[in-house]
Symmetry: C2
Subunit: 426 residues, 2 copies
Amino acid sequence: MTALTTYRLADLSEADRARLCTRPADLDGAVLDAVAEIEAVVRERGDEALHAFNARFDTAVDTLRVPVGRLAEAWAASDLAFQHAVETAATNIRTFHAPQGATAYETEPMPGVRCWRETRPIERVGLYVPGGTAPLVSTLLMTAIPAQLAGCTRIVVATPPPAAEPILAVAGFLGLEEVVQVGGAQAVFALAYGTESVPRVDKIVGPGNAYVTAAKWRASRFCAIDMIAGPSEVLVMAEGTSNPAWVAADLLSQAEHGTDSQVVLVATDADFVQAVQAELDGQLATLPRRATAEAALAHSFVVVASALDEAIAFSNRYAPEHLILHLADWQPVAARITNAGSVFCGPLTPESIGDYASGTNHTLPTAGLARSMSGLSVEAFSRTVTFQSLDAGGLAALAPSVTTLAETEQLRAHARAVTIRTEASS
Amino acid sequence: MTALTTYRLADLSEADRARLCTRPADLDGAVLDAVAEIEAVVRERGDEALHAFNARFDTAVDTLRVPVGRLAEAWAASDLAFQHAVETAATNIRTFHAPQGATAYETEPMPGVRCWRETRPIERVGLYVPGGTAPLVSTLLMTAIPAQLAGCTRIVVATPPPAAEPILAVAGFLGLEEVVQVGGAQAVFALAYGTESVPRVDKIVGPGNAYVTAAKWRASRFCAIDMIAGPSEVLVMAEGTSNPAWVAADLLSQAEHGTDSQVVLVATDADFVQAVQAELDGQLATLPRRATAEAALAHSFVVVASALDEAIAFSNRYAPEHLILHLADWQPVAARITNAGSVFCGPLTPESIGDYASGTNHTLPTAGLARSMSGLSVEAFSRTVTFQSLDAGGLAALAPSVTTLAETEQLRAHARAVTIRTEASS
């Protein structure tokens, strides 16, 4: 019923391959226009605008800021299985992220020319956590823990009103203090410009719908953002001996995210694809979000490669957010993966363990941006600052090169800033 | 004649301080409209559009790509002082950047749950190098060397036609092979989309005018960029015993960049400011780019702080691209600098040495983005990819947490991707 479109890689022209690797992207013009209006209103009217947008798009709330006591209360009131799951995930996320962060170092490129690099946390960061019927508690864990490890001093969480209890609970567990109830593009602009209740931040991270994404893009003119996120994606690489039920379950776990989810199967065996198709039909029958998953599968596709080499080349070209290697001998393949956000190695490693609790970050580049960007990390919440200090010998040694290059660029005052010193000390 | 506006920090209200730290930013609406048109034309018509824009904005050239042989020829034909300066700068830049790059590591957050991180170069990068009367050879060194150290396989240089000889020479010296003669917004979109002559790249870096910046912002919807760059800036921190002639020379070396350059002096001594003013007037008289520097100084300002603590707080709030510490005892101050792109420590360290040859990168965040971004580095040309692999014990241990969190988020197929495996193996 939801037959996946299947291509033989060998039959595809260069143009076909390029088309399959292109995401149905670009920001929607109508969304961009709406978001530009929201920006102007939030910038001009602050909290008043946020209350009005809450009433219009979500639910009106009396106070935008959640009292900090409510956070600890929500954690205390949450059930034990939930607490245990959150603690396990948080411990693993901390363990995996702890070694991250740029290291300080110093060099002396020439005698008397000392250059070094130090690390500083970004002081104020905003975490956007989508709300609604399925509160994304995992997003709060994945964004807040690296920010805490980086040493950010002000961490502001924005989530649509009324803030979901599980999100408040996780904020309480993490010891966060600033949660504001505002969602959508208005939340992004509140964080970017600041309002009476929402502190202005230096960087905004976290996933969201098309309005949130468009707002982040607009805010990126003057505020750092993590990335422009498109629909979530998985590419599953499988072979004839892979388990078709497990592969089907992995494809569906991506397909249930949204009707625009991107699901790709690259297999080296055509018969295996038939078996996966049968499993998909069976598993779909009992899936609560069946309609969503079916819609996503309708624009998904299968590529049959004649050999693993071809499969790897296609995957690297597609540059998936998530890549699952359903391969018995995955090690040599993993070493050849150049473009992917996060890679799940071997048949016992479904994507969903990384979505929640293995420890790796689930905020990952989509839409082919894995070719140029990394997932969220401690580094994303830090900066490196470079320093240099010269003594008279170092300055004298560098002076001829600096003045020559400054003169090539016709910047005489640059040269003079050097010569005024060297002439004085000679 | 060009009296710098001077404020006593103690007299400034919170609103005044905020205003002084705000750059006259935002992308110009008319420029954005023009750039959106250029995007559509380049995307649709490729090389043909580039030739037309070259003729309209710069100079028509027969071939967009510079033959690779021309690069080595230009280097061989360049004069010895230039070659020596380029070699010195390149050696220092390599020495300073070589230790950069994220390190690979592995963790085992729980028994049977292995998570690790590896580094991959961005494969295809585009370097924009402004041309015109003052070819920015230093920009080519500062962008190409980190890209080469990162291991980028395709490095495409775009520079306005006709490409300046010193830029061709440096490309030849660096062993680059792809230089295309196209400038402005059209160059950015050619790199972002690809044309017949210009390869599509995964990330675009390098400075440019307002059109280039607006084009980079538009391209950032689907292509990584280094940063949205505003006018160049320096903040000089000085004390009563600083050398006013050297401080004035440093202020002018920033002011000559452009009429929109931002130049700020923060001093702890009001009499010293008078001495700097006198030096500025004297040095301006003999500066070739005097008109530019005077225009920049007209909107620059001086802040007199009552103590270094106040000066440091103001500098961190301003978050300058370049910070010069004209202080005898600069070490304790440097340690307290949180927001700056690159810091020049002590009276013998003018900014211009970092602009060209000390080894640090001169591509730095402006307009307050030093609060959230770092200068260009090897990391900017690399990505980290995360991996994970579970065995049956690890999957069993993680399963309860994953299924609990998936159910909180109402994502049943996520839970099933785990349980279908654990049930099979139990």
